[in-house]
Amino acid sequence: MPASTAPEPGEVSDSDLVKRCQAGDTRAFDVLVSRYRGKVYAMTYHMIQNETEAWDLSQEAFIKAWRAMPNFKLDSAFYTWLYRITHNVTYDWLRKKKMHGDGEFDDSRTEHRVAAGAEAVPRNEPAPDIALKNAELGKRINDAIAKLSPEHKQVILLREVEGLAYEEIAQTIPCSLGTVMSRLFYARKKLQEMLKDAYENAL
């Protein structure tokens, strides 16, 4: 189950907002957008590593969610449902890019990935030397992720970033449990190869 941003005490619950959306209330949808845009954007950004396109795809995911709202039976958490839509939108985009031979291994995509206003949610700041090493390792990780195939990128992000269980990954993609395990294993092996020297040099 993807970690959801639970509403604060006193906030309207997701299910109540969904019901209002299903009655055509766009203001209720605006609340849901504000609540989940950061997670949706992070997911698309990690998959495609381009700020502008991640922004556009996140928009597309929310619009698709709005259109599909009448069919949402509230049989899962709203974010789980939104998450699947976002994943499908992003994965379709990646596959189209791949078909057109455009950009999957384009290193330039990772060069300017952190632009003004796009910083990650703040964490505790480490000491400068540690921060530098972290930044270097972070760049290496992002570069390595960018070089994975869409299928491998997909499973590694679903598992490591979203924390989905294998069964949930299988439902989201969708594919068999065996495929999930195989892809995860080979994705990790590829990352391991690409990051080997970084770890050997004790970054």
Binding site: Q22, A23, Q59, F62, P70, L137, I141, A165, M181
Partner: protein, 209 residues
């Protein structure tokens, strides 16, 4: 060389997808195989670094614009719930149209009894669909005008056209239970009837130029 199932064991152990019994068996293997242990440790470290460097939530650039763009697109979308055929009464329920509604309703029930000499109008009844709105009329003989006053109406947008109709005469057809209202030149302005709740229902209206 490891078999595919051994590969799966490795990642299932890493991801906590093993049963207790499987986990115990794998831990025994791990203790006896330094190469496997080294690989597991490397993958554990990598997983930890991936989670640390790939945040699950990020600040969306220009977040307010992000939301407003979605609202703009939603406004261009078809309504989520297709309205079978919006009846006139549904249309009447729009708060900002209450004024126009009341005006039309009055038009439907107001007979401008323009006698050859007097030219006065008499309001026979007023229907306001929103109970929180109170409607009154005031007739000025001197100005030869009837003023409609509404209390409890929301602010009306400045660009909203409020229209009024001049009704010269009406004809009621008992067979089809409709009333036709004619304008000054004898043109048909409105055709109204009543629904099952005895409330006015607009059947047709001539667009005003």
């Amino acid at each position: 060389m490891k078999t595919p199932s051994e590969d799966h064991d490795l990642i299932r152990w890493l991801d906590g997808e093993m049963t207790d019994a499987e986990r115990a068996r794998f831990s025994t293997r791990l203790a006896a195989d330094p190469d496997l242990k080294a690989e597991v440790e490397m993958m554990q470290r990598m997983s930890s670094d991936l989670r640390a460097h790939l945040p699950a939530e990020m600040t969306v650039p220009y977040g307010d614009f992000f939301n407003s763009q979605i609202q703009v697109r939603l406004a261009q979308e078809e309504p989520l719930i297709p309205e079978a055929r919006a009846s006139w009464l549904d249309w009447l329920r729009l708060p900002t149209l209450i004024t126009a509604t009341a005006a039309v309703a009055i038009a439907g029930f107001m007979i401008m009894q323009k006698g050859p000499a007097a030219g006065d109008s008499v309001v026979l009844s007023i229907y306001v669909p929103n109970a929180s709105v109170h409607a009154r009329t005031f007739h000025s003989d001197e100005a030869q005008a009837t003023v409609l006053m509404l209390d409890g109406v929301e602010a009306i947008p400045a660009d909203r056209k409020i229209v009024g109709y001049y009704i010269e005469r009406t004809e009621t057809d008992q067979e089809v239970a409709t009333t036709t209202l004619y304008g000054k030149s004898g043109e048909v302005v409105l055709v109204v009837s009543k629904d099952v709740r005895n409330q006015p229902r607009l059947l047709s209206a001539t667009p005003r130029g």
